[in-house]
């Protein structure tokens, strides 16, 4: 069993989508626990990419292909995971109003999914009311807000206030190029991360 889990991890790290899916199916047919495939092969592979990224050995292209491979593997795995076992938690993610930039948010989505979270991406240029609606609709474990510009970043405290009026205990994470820990604290956010990998780590930490 160790061999196939290692092979799945290697296929993800190398961004081999078809191979990942094929190996996941093979492992499932061989009776390997789906949760074990997720937690002992797939998630560690994404963590490995994250570590290589922080050492300057992997860059965004390697993350993107690994995330694609992970997705393909998940397609095979998801139907076999028991209900209520579909990951570490639910995150609703969006870029605040006025900001049409998507890549930062998309990388965060990839890393969160790689860490086993389910993600509902509500897109870019999202109005404050839409964040509140999405929060009400999905009741996520974490709400993630992104902004790339220092002008649009000013929307973040507004969204936090509006969502907290709906649920005073809402867990909210913020990020994006101009966002700092200080700004996050001032805005009343529960978490901040300087990059996508750290965002996944922080999300895990917030949910304990």
């Amino acid at each position: 069993m160790r061999e196939i889990l290692e092979a799945i991890g290697k296929a993800i790290v190398e961004g081999e989508e078809e191979e990942t899916r094929r190996l996941v199916e093979e492992a499932l047919q061989g009776g390997v626990d789906p949760r074990k495939i997720l937690e002992d092969a797939m998630m560690p592979a994404m963590e490995d990419i994250g570590e290589r990224f922080s050492r300057g050995e992997a860059f965004i292209p390697e993350l993107i292909v690994a995330a694609e491979a992970m997705q393909r593997g998940m397609e095979a795995l998801k139907p076999r995971l028991a209900e209520g076992e579909r990951g570490r938690g639910l995150v609703v993610l969006g870029t605040v109003q006025g900001d049409i930039h998507s890549i930062g948010k998309n990388l965060v989505r990839m890393c969160l999914e790689g860490a086993g979270f389910e993600v509902v991406d509500i897109g870019e240029d999202v109005k404050t009311e839409r964040f509140v609606e999405a929060y009400r609709e999905h009741r996520p474990d974490i709400l993630g807000l992104s902004a790339l510009l220092s002008s649009t970043m000013q929307r973040i405290p507004e969204v936090i206030e509006a969502v907290r009026a709906e649920d005073s205990g809402a867990l909210i994470m913020v990020g994006g190029a101009p966002v700092t820990q200080e700004f996050a604290d001032r805005s009343g956010a529960d978490g901040y991360a300087p990059n996508a990998f750290e965002a996944a780590r922080k999300a895990k930490e917030l949910l304990g």
Partner: protein, 365 residues
């Protein structure tokens, strides 16, 4: 010295009479807010795409008035590619790219004519039209030869990903389809070479090759990927610009350290904007000041939007102290004067540049 002489001297890494002042871009709102200090004849506050021709002309004239009043040494024009509206938020350009317009910055491609490698063969290349250069022509006509005329053109990386409608897609193909990435970069480069020709024919002095290659932490691609997928095309473009008598610099936000050697080797004459959150301008000056003109560095993320005029002056003073001695420095914001920047702070930045930027530089640490 004229503004143009100042800019060209700085690009030659020699000392002009004072540090040249120039800006990569002003948004519509920023132009109008700055214009209020100098004229009452202003266009209404809206996106250029939504303005009538008369209002667009008024917007350009406001920009020229601001440039003249603040005695800017260079002015930047953008290519005005014709677009047709798709819906309230999107327009389509001559390549067939769907662009999303934004009040906070430039329009960004969200859909392209190419979705996979097989589409490349059927792609109908767009060729630059004389009308794309109307802003440059108006700028040359209005401000004349006294200021450096800079034309912004997206580089091969940005043109490539916008043909795909997504940067992630291009970076995916970096690993999966190297041949496709190179073919696409060549399509983009052939177009850029035509733009360079038309820029030269219409009075440009300097090309600003736009398109971020980095983010706060590091470059978007590895140095090896830069060498393979971007560098050869940068080389073609800088060589062509130089053949046509133009200077050319690379613009990229973010931490460009991993590929700075490549930027120099590719033949660029300068580098902008040395984002202060990611790169120390003193270090850039020490390492590359003998080979590159350095442009930018006055923070437009926090300082120009939220700082005081005194803080702006102090930042200008310190940046000039570090970057200007010996020449080879053009002062500008760390990206552009976007709608979040206080117009008073921009004016304070220009005034401080005049106060501290006289050569020989005499600013104490």
């Amino acid at each position: 010295m004229t503004g143009k002489e100042r800019m060209l001297t700085a690009f030659d890494r020699r000392e002009p009479d004072r540090v040249p002042v120039w800006e990569m871009a002003f948004n519509e709102e920023s132009i109008i807010k700055l214009g209020k200090f100098y004229t009452d004849d202003l266009p209404p506050m809206k996106f250029a795409q939504q303005m009538t021709m008369e209002e667009k002309v008024k917007l350009l004239n406001t920009l020229f008035t601001v440039a003249r009043e603040l005695e800017l040494d260079g002015i930047t024009s953008i290519g005005l590619l014709g677009t047709e509206p798709v819906d309230d938020e999107h327009v389509k350009d001559g390549w067939g790219r769907i662009l999303r317009v934004s009040e906070e910055g430039e329009a960004t491609a969200v859909g392209g004519p190419i979705s996979d490698p097989s589409d490349l063969r059927g792609l109908k290349a767009y060729h630059p039209q004389p009308t794309d250069f109307l802003m440059l022509m108006a700028s040359v006509g209005n401000l004349g030869d006294g200021v450096a005329q800079v034309l912004v053109q997206p580089g091969p990386f940005r043109e490539s990903w916008s043909l795909l409608g997504s940067m992630e897609k291009l970076l995916y193909h970096y690993v999966k389809n190297p041949g496709f990435v190179k073919d696409l970069a060549q399509v983009a480069t052939d177009y850029i070479l035509e733009v360079v020709d038309m820029a030269a024919d219409n009075g440009a002095d300097i090309i600003a090759l736009d398109g971020d290659l980095a983010f706060n932490q590091t470059t978007l691609m590895s140095p090896a990927q830069y060498e393979e997928y971007v560098f050869p095309y940068h080389q073609q473009i800088t060589a062509h610009a130089h053949r046509r008598g133009l200077l050319i610099f690379k613009h990229s936000d973010g931490n460009m350290w991993p590929i700075m050697d490549g930027i120099v080797d590719a033949g660029f004459d300068g580098f902008h904007p040395v984002q202060p959150q990611c790169m120390d301008i003193g270090e850039v000056k020490r390492k590359y000041g003998d080979r590159l003109c350095i442009l930018g560095n006055i923070d437009c993320t926090y300082l120009l939007p939220f700082g005081s005029e005194e803080e702006v002056e102090e930042s200008v003073r310190e940046t000039i102290r570090v970057a200007a001695p010996g020449g080879g420095y053009v002062i500008s914001s760390s990206n552009s004067i976007h709608p979040g920047c206080k117009p008073e702070n921009y004016i304070a930045m220009v005034r401080a540049a005049r106060k501290y930027g006289v050569y020989p530089i005499d600013v104490e640490g």
